[in-house]
C-alpha cells in the first residue's frame, strides 16, 4: 500500500502561483458577470481587465527573486519577473485599444476579455517555470486562446489567419513535445536544472551527442515557429494581416517575449554545456531572419504587412543576443522589448485608428501605403507621430529602439562578435528604407484624393495610449539608466 503523502501548504509556496491565479480568476469573474447580466458595454470589461492586470502586476512586483514553489515546478527568478512585468505592461497598453469609436464585434463579447486573461496566465506559466511540461502547458494555453482571439475579428481572412496559425502552432507543439521527449529519454528528467546536471556528466559520451543534437534541433524548430524565425516565418504576415491591428502589434511583442525567455532558458543551457553547434545554429537563423525579412519588407504594398516583416526582422535581431549567452546580451533582450513595446504598439495603434469597416483604399489591403500619402497636409500631428514611430523602429537616435539596438550591438561586440554587430548595423540600414517609404508617403507626396476620414476609428482612449507611446518613445533617454540597471540586476541575479 502506498504511503499517504503529506504536503504542507507552506512548502508549496503558493505565492509564486498568485500572478497566474489572479489572471485566471479575473477571467472567470468576467464570465460570471456576463452570466448574471448580459449586454454590458465593452468599456466595463476593458476597465475590469485593466484592474485585474493591475492586481496581477502588483502580485508580480511582490515576488522575491529566486524562489521556487509548487513542488519546485515554479521558478521565480529575475527573468521570470521582468518578463511577466513586460507581458503585463504590454497587455495594459493593448487592452484600451478596444475602445474604438466604431464597433468591432469581437470586443463586445466578454469572452474576448476572459480569453485574453487566460492567455496572459498561459504566458506567465511559460516564463515562470523551468519544467518542460509546465512550459508546454503554458504555451498551449496561451496559443489556443490567441487563435480564438484572432478568429473573432470580422474579416474572412481572420479565420484563415487563425487556422493557419493553429496548424503551424500544432506543428510547433509537436516539435516541442518530441524534443522534450528526447531530453527526457536522455536524462530522465523534465526539470531544466536536473537535465543540465545529467547532461554535464554524460556530455563526453559519444552516443549522447547525437541525441542531444536531435533534441535541440526539434526544440529549435519549435521555437523558430513560435518566434517566426526564418524559414518558419511564413505564417506571420498572413496572420498579422488577418488579425486586428492592435492584436497584431500585441502578437509581435508578448508571445515573442515569452518564447524568448524559454529559449533563453533552454538554449542557454545548451550553450553553457558547450554545445557550440546550437549557438552557431541560432546565429545563422537569426542573421538569415533579419536579413531576409528586411528584404521581403522592402517589397510590401501594405503597411501592416510591412510592419509584420519588420517585426520578424526585430525578432531575428534579438534572437542573436540569445546566442551570445552573456548577461549583457540577455539584458539587451529585455531592454529591447521594453522599448520596442511602446513604439511598435504605437505604430499598430496608428493603423488601428485609421481602420475602416470596409476597404476604402485598396481591394485587398486595409492599410496600403497610398492611404497615408500626403498625411502631413490632412492630419499633421498624426503624420508626425507615425513618423516618430517609424524613425524609432529604424533606429534613429534618440528614439527608444535605438537604445535597444546599440545595447545589443554592444553586447555582440563585447562577446567578440564584431561581424554580428556589423551585420546588425547593415540590416538597420536596409530596414531604414522601408520605414522611410512610409515617411516619404506621409510627408513628401500629395494626398490621393482622400478626405478627412483617414482617422475614422479614433477615440480618446486610443489617443491617450498613443500619447503614452509617444512619450516613452521620445523620452526614452531619460529612463534608460533605471531601466538598464534594473534589468541588468534582475538578469544577473538569476544567473543568465
Amino acid at each position: 500500500m502506498l504511503e499517504p503523502i503529506s504536503v504542507s501548504l507552506a512548502s508549496l509556496n503558493l505565492v509564486t502561483l498568485a500572478p497566474m491565479l489572479v489572471a485566471v480568476a479575473g477571467g472567470l469573474i468576467l464570465l460570471i458577470i456576463d452570466l448574471i447580466k448580459g449586454d454590458l458595454h465593452k468599456s466595463l470589461y476593458v476597465m475590469l481587465t485593466i484592474l485585474i492586470l493591475f492586481v496581477d502586476f502588483g502580485s508580480v512586483m511582490g515576488l522575491n527573486v529566486n524562489e521556487r514553489g509548487f513542488f519546485d515546478v515554479m521558478l521565480i527568478d529575475g527573468i521570470a519577473i521582468i518578463s511577466q512585468l513586460l507581458i503585463l505592461a504590454a497587455s495594459m497598453l493593448f487592452i484600451p485599444l478596444a475602445l474604438t469609436s466604431k464597433r468591432f464585434h469581437e470586443y463586445s463579447y466578454p469572452e474576448f476579455f476572459a480569453l485574453f486573461l487566460f492567455m496572459i496566465a498561459g504566458f506567465q506559466f511559460m516564463v515562470a517555470s523551468d519544467n518542460l511540461i509546465l512550459i508546454f502547458v503554458g504555451i498551449e494555453t496561451a496559443s489556443l486562446s490567441l487563435y480564438t482571439l484572432i478568429a473573432l475579428h470580422n474579416r474572412y481572412n481572420s479565420y484563415e489567419a487563425a487556422v493557419k496559425y493553429f496548424t503551424m502552432g500544432a506543428l510547433a507543439a509537436g516539435f516541442y513535445a518530441m524534443g522534450s521527449a528526447v531530453i527526457y529519454a536522455l536524462t530522465g528528467s523534465v526539470e531544466l536544472y536536473q537535465i543540465a546536471e545529467v547532461l554535464q556528466s554524460r556530455i563526453s559520451e559519444s552516443s549522447v551527442m547525437l541525441a542531444v543534437l536531435g533534441g535541440s534541433v526539434l526544440l529549435l524548430g519549435a521555437f523558430a515557429f513560435k518566434l517566426s524565425l526564418f524559414p518558419f516565418h511564413t505564417w506571420t504576415p498572413d496572420v498579422y494581416e488577418g488579425a486586428s491591428a492592435p492584436l497584431a502589434g500585441y502578437m509581435s511583442i508578448v508571445p515573442k517575449v515569452a518564447a524568448l525567455v524559454v529559449a533563453m532558458r533552454i538554449f542557454g543551457l545548451y550553450i553553457d554545456l558547450g554545445v557550440e553547434w546550437v549557438r552557431i545554429a541560432i546565429l545563422v537563423l537569426s542573421v538569415l531572419t533579419m536579413t531576409l525579412a528586411n528584404m521581403m519588407a522592402l517589397v510590401q504594398d501594405d503597411v501592416k504587412r510591412m510592419l509584420a516583416y519588420s517585426s520578424i526582422s526585430h525578432v531575428g535581431f534579438v534572437m542573436a543576443a540569445i546566442a551570445l549567452d552573456t548577461t549583457k546580451g540577455n539584458t539587451g533582450v529585455f531592454l529591447y522589448y521594453a522599448l520596442y513595446m511602446f513604439t511598435n504598439l504605437g505604430a499598430f495603434a496608428m493603423l488601428w485608428i485609421s481602420r475602416h469597416k470596409n476597404r476604402v483604399f485598396h481591394k485587398r489591403f486595409d492599410h496600403p501605403y497610398e492611404k497615408f500619402s500626403g498625411l502631413i497636409k490632412i492630419m499633421p500631428m498624426g503624420a508626425v507621430v507615425m513618423a516618430l514611430f517609424m524613425l524609432s523602429l529604424a533606429g534613429v537616435p534618440p528614439f527608444s529602439v535605438f537604445w535597444g539596438k546599440i545595447y545589443i550591438m554592444s553586447a555582440a561586440v563585447d562577446a567578440g562578435y564584431v561581424w554580428l554587430a556589423v551585420v546588425m548595423g547593415l540590416n538597420s540600414a536596409i530596414a531604414a528604407y522601408y520605414y522611410l517609404k512610409l515617411v516619404v508617403y506621409m510627408f513628401l507626396k500629395e494626398p490621393e484624393g482622400n478626405d478627412d476620414t483617414i482617422y475614422y476609428n479614433t477615440s480618446k482612449p486610443l489617443m491617450s495610449m498613443i500619447g503614452i507611446a509617444v512619450v516613452a518613445t521620445v523620452g526614452s533617454v531619460f529612463f534608460m539608466q533605471p531601466l538598464i540597471s534594473y534589468i541588468f540586476y534582475m538578469v544577473s541575479a538569476s544567473g543568465y
Binding site: I376, L391, A394, G395, V396, P397, P398, W403, I406, Y407, M409, S410, V413, D414, V418, A421, V422, G425, L426, S428, A429, A432, Y433, L436, V439, V440, F443, L444, K445, V477, M480, Q481, I484, S485, F488
Partner: protein, 508 residues
C-alpha cells in the same frame, strides 16, 4: 554664462517646438528672429572664448546612462568654435534670403531643428551624443529636400538619407568597439571622446577602427567613391537646402576626421595618408573636370564643392599645423563661399526658373550688383589672393608639400581647373550680349537678398586680407592636437611624419 553651449544647442530646438504655435504668415519673421538671436549667442560664445587656451572650454558633463557610460558632454575648442559660428551665420543668412512661399512654417521649423543638430554635432564630446545629433540631422534635411525640391526630389532625399545612414551605422559599430576596448582596459564604460583619446591601441585595432569611422565620415564628406549622392541632393534641393548642406552638413565629415580619427588613431591615420591622399587627389581632379562638363550652374557649384572638400581632406592628412589649420580655415571659407554661391544661383532661379547656363548670357549688363557679388564669390571659390578662399587653400598646399611634392602639384591643378570652369561659367552667363529676350528685364538684387549677401562679401574680403583673428585660435588648438598625436604615436617614423611646425604662415 558657462552653459552657453547648451543654450546654443537647445534654443533653436525649443524655438522649433514653439514654432508649431506661430501663425504661418508670421513664421518667416519668427524664424529669422530666432536665427538672429542664435547667431548673436554664437558671437557671444566667440567673444567669451579664450583664444590662448588650446583645450576644451565651456565644458558641461551631465551623466545620462552612467551604467553604459553615456553622458551629455559638450565643449568647444578653437577647431569647433568657428564652425559653430559659421553654422549659425549661414542658417541666419539662408533664412533671410529664403524665397519659399509653400508651407513656410514647416520649412522654418525644420530649419530650426536642423540648426540644433548642426550645433550639437560640432560641440558634442560624447560619441553617442555626437552620433545622436549626426543621425538626427538627416531627418529635417530629408524633409527639406523631399518636400521643396525639384522633380526628382524624393529619390534624391531618400538616397541622401540611406547613404549617410548606412555609413554611420558602421561608424556606430566602431564606436561600440572603442567603448568596449576602453571598458576592458579601464574597467568602466565611457563614450567620452576625451577618455578615448587616452587609449593607446595596437596597430591592427587602430586600422580597423579607423576604417569603421572612415566609412561614416567619408560618405558625409563625400569622399570620391561615395560622393554620388551629393549631385542629386544638390541638384534637387531647394536653395536653402543646398546652402545648409554645402556650408555646414558636409563639414561634419571633415570635422569628424579631425575630432575622432586623428587623435584616436594617430598611427593608423599616418599609415593611411597615402591611400587617402590618392582618393582626395582623384576627387579633386575628377570632380573639377566633371564640373567643367556641367550645363547647369548649380551642378557646377555642387561638383566644385566636392572638389574643394578633397582639398580639405588633403590638408587634414598632411599631419602638420599648416595642413590641418588650413583645412579648418578652408572648411569655414568653403562654407561661406559655397553657401553664397548657392544663394546666388537661387536668386537667378527664382527669377527665371532655370539654372541652365545656355539660358543666360550678358547678365552683367542687366543685373550689375548681382554680377559683382557673383564675381567676388567666384574668385574666392577659385582661391584668388586677398579673398578668403586663398588663405586656406594656400596653407593646405603648403602643408601637403611636406608630404608629397607631386601630390601637391596635382592638387594645385585644381586651382587651375577651378579657374577654367568657374570663369567659363561666368563668361557664358554674365558676359557678352543679352542673347535671351527674357533676361533683358530681370530685376537686380532686392534689399532682402542684399542683406543676406553683403555680409558674406564683407567676410570674404575681411578674412582674406586679415585672417589672424580666426587663424590664431585654430592654430592653437591644432598645435595642441598635433602635440598630443606626436606624444601618443607609437613609432618614431610616425612621430616624424606628425610634425609640429612652429612658424605657421599667416596673412598672405
Amino acid at each position: 554664462m558657462e552653459n552657453i553651449l547648451s543654450v546654443l544647442i537647445f534654443f533653436p530646438a525649443v524655438a522649433g517646438l514653439l514654432g508649431f504655435v506661430v501663425d504661418k504668415n508670421s513664421a518667416r519673421v519668427y524664424g529669422i528672429s530666432v536665427a538672429v538671436v542664435e547667431f548673436l549667442l554664437s558671437l557671444w560664445l566667440w567673444m567669451s572664448f579664450d583664444g590662448t587656451n588650446a583645450g576644451m572650454q565651456f565644458v558641461e558633463i551631465i551623466p545620462l546612462v552612467p551604467d553604459f557610460g553615456i553622458s551629455y558632454y559638450v565643449g568647444v575648442d578653437g577647431i569647433s568654435l568657428f564652425i559653430v559660428v559659421m553654422a549659425a551665420l549661414m542658417t541666419m543668412l539662408g533664412m533671410i534670403s529664403m524665397n519659399i512661399e509653400k508651407d513656410i512654417k514647416n520649412m522654418v521649423i525644420s530649419l530650426l531643428f536642423l540648426e540644433m543638430t548642426m550645433i550639437g554635432v560640432f560641440v558634442a564630446l560624447d560619441a553617442i551624443v555626437f552620433y545622436l545629433f549626426w543621425e538626427l540631422s538627416l531627418v529635417p534635411m530629408l524633409y527639406i529636400i523631399g518636400a521643396w525640391g525639384g522633380p526628382l526630389r524624393i529619390y534624391a532625399s531618400v538616397k541622401f538619407f540611406l547613404y549617410t545612414f548606412s555609413g554611420s551605422l558602421i561608424m556606430l559599430v566602431g564606436m561600440l568597439f572603442m567603448a568596449y576596448l576602453y571598458q576592458s582596459i579601464s574597467g568602466v564604460w565611457s563614450f567620452s571622446i576625451t577618455d578615448w583619446y587616452a587609449l593607446v591601441l595596437p596597430m591592427n585595432y587602430q586600422i580597423w577602427l579607423f576604417l569603421a569611422f572612415f566609412i561614416g565620415f567619408a560618405v558625409k564628406v563625400p569622399m570620391f567613391p561615395f560622393h554620388t549622392w551629393l549631385p542629386y541632393a544638390h541638384g534637387q534641393a531647394p536653395t536653402i537646402g543646398s546652402v545648409i548642406l554645402a556650408a555646414v552638413l558636409l563639414k561634419m565629415g571633415t570635422y569628424g576626421f579631425v575630432r575622432f580619427s586623428l587623435p584616436m588613431f594617430p598611427d593608423a591615420s599616418t599609415q593611411m595618408i597615402m591611400p587617402i591622399a590618392v582618393l582626395s587627389i582623384i576627387m579633386i581632379i575628377y570632380t573639377a573636370m566633371v564640373a567643367y562638363a556641367q550645363k547647369d550652374i548649380k551642378q557646377v557649384i555642387a561638383y566644385s564643392s566636392v572638389s574643394h572638400m578633397g582639398v580639405i581632406m588633403l590638408g587634414i592628412f598632411a599631419m602638420n599645423a599648416e595642413g590641418i589649420g588650413g583645412s579648418i580655415f578652408l572648411m569655414l571659407s568653403h562654407g561661406i563661399v559655397s553657401g553664397a554661391l548657392f544663394m546666388l544661383v537661387g536668386v537667378i532661379y527664382d527669377r527665371r526658373h532655370t539654372k541652365l547656363m545656355s539660358e543666360f548670357g550678358g547678365l552683367a549688363s542687366v543685373m550689375p550688383k548681382y554680377a559683382l557679388i557673383f564675381g567676388i564669390m567666384l574668385m574666392a571659390s577659385v582661391g584668388l589672393p586677398l579673398t578668403i578662399g586663398f588663405v586656406g587653400e594656400f596653407l593646405v598646399l603648403l602643408g601637403f608639400y611636406k608630404v608629397s611634392v607631386i601630390g601637391t602639384i596635382l592638387a594645385g591643378t585644381s586651382v587651375i581647373v577651378g579657374a577654367i570652369y568657374m570663369l567659363s561659367l561666368y563668361k557664358k552667363s554674365f558676359f557678352g550680349p543679352v542673347t535671351n529676350e527674357e533676361n533683358s528685364k530681370l530685376a537686380d538684387l532686392d534689399a532682402k537678398e542684399l542683406v543676406a549677401l553683403v555680409p558674406l562679401v564683407v567676410i570674404v574680403i575681411w578674412l582674406g586680407v586679415y585672417p589672424k583673428p580666426v587663424l590664431g585660435p585654430i592654430d592653437n588648438s591644432v598645435k595642441a592636437l598635433l602635440g598630443f598625436m606626436h606624444e601618443k604615436a607609437q613609432t618614431t617614423e610616425v612621430k616624424e611624419i606628425i610634425t609640429l611646425s612652429k612658424n605657421i604662415k599667416e596673412a598672405k
